[in-house]
């Protein structure tokens, strides 16, 4: 192992440790380690200007293929995945606009009213809604609103919201795995390997769909006693707020609904139209800002730029591992262990990804693993998409197992705990860990049957 490889590994490990320790904000950590990678690994150790330009990858933004691909989707080169960053930024702007108009709260209250606030239908409806929304919107936003409304309903209707929140969190992660734009690992996988929304929905989407049916049944069985115990009085129902009260401004509400609909249509059809996710993200953000009028500046300020900077730094650090050949070594190791057996490769990727994602942030993990599976596919002659779906399901679903595995878990348990409904590791893992194992098993068997 040479000096640049050792340096790249040290920076990568240091980044992970510092993220876990959370003493320094994570975007400073990744940016700091990223800059050190550029200077130390590429500049001093490798003396390679080419590695720096490839990792910064700025020139890719100014190519036509970045915004529009006629025919097949184009694979991104290594380094900073600007398409992911622009898309996430665009969706952040759209979601801020929707939240401001009261869309999410309205939707939750409307569905609750439609099922007459009855605990079991409410439980199932919110699970399905969580999964559906998370297919298009980041799971943090989905859970933030769902958990808040669940607690509000629980207080008014006097039921325990913890079973609902736990199932909503799981379904948000599951829904996110179904599409290219649902979960950050999928966005990175899709843009890095050139897969479309349709590719995801017809592969991970089917696995998520089958799993969702099983998960709804599983959570219902697990929490049936708590749900059966809830009794509603007419007075409780009468005291519920009207869904329309959630709408802060009718004009903004209608606009946000239209923009959301357009975003979904553009995403679903992007393989046919040739518009890349970067283009869709940028257009959605611009339309949201134009229609927001004087509120546009405030909307821009509310964008979580820290997450975007986190991604930029992360891609630089992973670029260090990629340029120095570390990831090829890992791929070679997996290839040797699996001895060219695709099923074994899939099993290793899906379970290692799931276990790792249960304890560490799945975004850096997915970003690191993409070059690994690319190399594995090239050297072992196996189908890249099969490995990609295994990686996607492993990272997306593995994060559901523990309260720290995915952002939605942290946000959901945090909102519940602040309101006096304390969800510790034991309570969380008791229901979520078996559900995670079920979904990972289902996904693995599905991949075996369909692709191997």
């Amino acid at each position: 192992m040479n000096i640049e490889q050792i340096l790249a590994i040290i920076l990568f490990v240091a980044m992970f440790i510092l993220i876990v320790m959370d003493k320094i904000e994570r975007h400073y950590v990744t940016l700091g380690c990223g800059i050190l990678t550029i200077i130390g690994v590429f500049g001093i150790a490798m003396k390679s200007m080419e590695a720096i330009t490839e990792t910064l990858n700025i020139k890719s933004i100014f190519t036509l293929g970045f915004w529009y691909t006629a025919g097949n989707a184009e694979e991104s080169t290594s380094g900073i995945n600007w398409a992911t960053i622009i898309f996430i930024a665009g969706m952040m702007v759209m979601v801020e606009g929707m939240a401001k108009a009261g869309f999410f709260r309205w939707l939750c209250m409307k569905l609750a009213k439609m099922v007459h606030y009855k605990p079991i239908p409410l439980f199932i409806t919110f699970m399905l809604m969580s999964a559906f929304l998370a297919m298009f919107i980041d799971s943090i936003t989905v859970i933030l609103f769902l958990a808040a409304v669940t607690i509000e309903l629980a207080k008014l209707l006097k039921f325990d919201p913890i079973p609902m929140i736990l199932s909503e969190i799981f379904c948000a992660n599951l829904g996110g795995s179904a599409t290219m734009c649902g979960d950050p690992p999928n966005i990175i996988i899709g843009t890095s390997l050139g897969y479309s929304f349709g590719d995801f929905i017809t592969n991970t989407g089917i696995m998520a769909g089958i799993s969702l049916i099983l998960v709804v049944i599983y959570y219902f069985v697990v929490f049936r006693k708590e749900l059966a115990g809830e009794k509603l009085s007419q007075a409780d129902v009468d005291a519920m707020p009207e869904p329309k009260e959630a709408i802060t401004n009718k004009r903004d509400f209608v606009i946000s609904c239209v923009i959301f609909f357009c975003a979904v249509v553009l995403l679903v059809t992007h393989a046919q139209t040739g518009l890349t996710v970067a283009f869709i993200g940028a257009v959605i953000a611009i339309i949201t800002l134009i229609t927001s009028g004087s509120y546009a500046l405030k909307l821009l300020k509310q964008v979580d730029y820290k997450t975007l900077l986190f991604f930029i730094g992360l891609f630089m650090v992973v670029g260090g591992l990629e340029q120095t050949g570390i990831l090829e070594i890992i791929a070679g190791y997996i290839g040797t262990v699996s001895n060219g057996n695709l099923r074994l490769m899939v099993a290793i990727i899906i379970w290692v990804s799931a276990i790792a994602s249960a304890f560490v942030d799945n975004i850096p993990f997915a970003a690191t693993m993409i070059p690994v599976i690319k190399s594995l596919s090239a050297t072992q002659g196996v189908d890249l998409s099969t490995l990609a779906w295994a990686l996607s399901m492993g990272t997306d679903i593995g994060g559901s197992a523990t309260p720290i595995g995915a952002s939605a878990n942290v946000v959901g348990t945090s909102v519940a705990t602040k309101n006096g409904y304390i969800i510790g590791w034991g309570k969380y893992c008791k229901s979520a860990a078996p559900a995670t194992i079920i979904v990972i098993l289902v996904s693995m068997v599905f991949i075996f049957i369909r692709y191997c």
Partner: protein
């Protein structure tokens, strides 16, 4: 004492800081907040106070918890934030009080009427106090002191821009071993009265 007075007292374990704070509050006729604030918080959250007690002034477990933006699933951090809001609310309402620990000198740093005090002590003196108070032998007492001070330091440094016990960031740091609890209270009360006059 018509004008608002806020007194934060941070302390090393065994220094008698808690007792000193309690006496000052009693002598000056001020409300006193310590661990007891958990009763009110537990009542508001509709949980048992015993559930919250183990997270009081505790640092987060960085391996088992995570933060996403302003959200954390660390019970210790959530309780800290609730306590900080509680302290701020009390201060905003115009109430005068003495508060022990809980990073109050950082939480209330924007208040001109805040008097921040750090009480420390000689190791031997603290050791004797802990042995007597908790009926412990020397080894156990030393371990208890080290454990509590480490916990307080980690907790403080997590929520503050400066280090726990750094004299540059407190109005007054005092070694309670020199004058004992009563003597230290007298000195501190004199200082507090002078500060209140100066502030008025």
């Amino acid at each position: 004492m018509a004008k608002q007075t806020l007194i934060s007292i941070s302390r090393e374990f065994g220094s008698g800081g808690h007792e000193i704070a309690e006496k000052i509050a009693k002598d000056l006729g001020l409300k006193f907040y310590d661990r007891s604030m958990l009763d009110e918080i537990a009542n508001n959250m509709n949980v048992k106070v015993e559930v919250l007690e183990k997270y009081d002034e505790a640092p987060r477990n960085f391996l088992l918890t995570r933060r996403v933006g302003s959200h954390t699933n660390s019970m210790a951090e959530i309780l800290s934030e609730i306590q900080f809001d509680f302290i701020k609310d009390k201060a905003t309402s115009g109430e005068s009080f003495v508060i022990v620990g809980r990073c109050a000198e950082t939480v209330l740093k924007d208040y001109d009427c805040l008097i921040s005090i750090f009480v420390n002590g000689n190791k031997q003196h603290k050791l004797e106090r802990v042995k007597e108070k908790y009926h412990l032998n020397e080894t156990d007492a030393l371990l208890k002191m080290a454990r509590h001070d480490k916990k307080r330091k980690l907790y403080h440094n997590r929520h503050s821009d400066y280090k726990w016990g750094d004299s540059r960031y407190y109005d007054l740091c005092i070694n309670s071993s020199s004058l004992g609890v009563t003597g230290t209270v007298d000195v501190l009360e004199y200082y507090i009265q002078e500060r209140i006059h100066a502030y008025k």
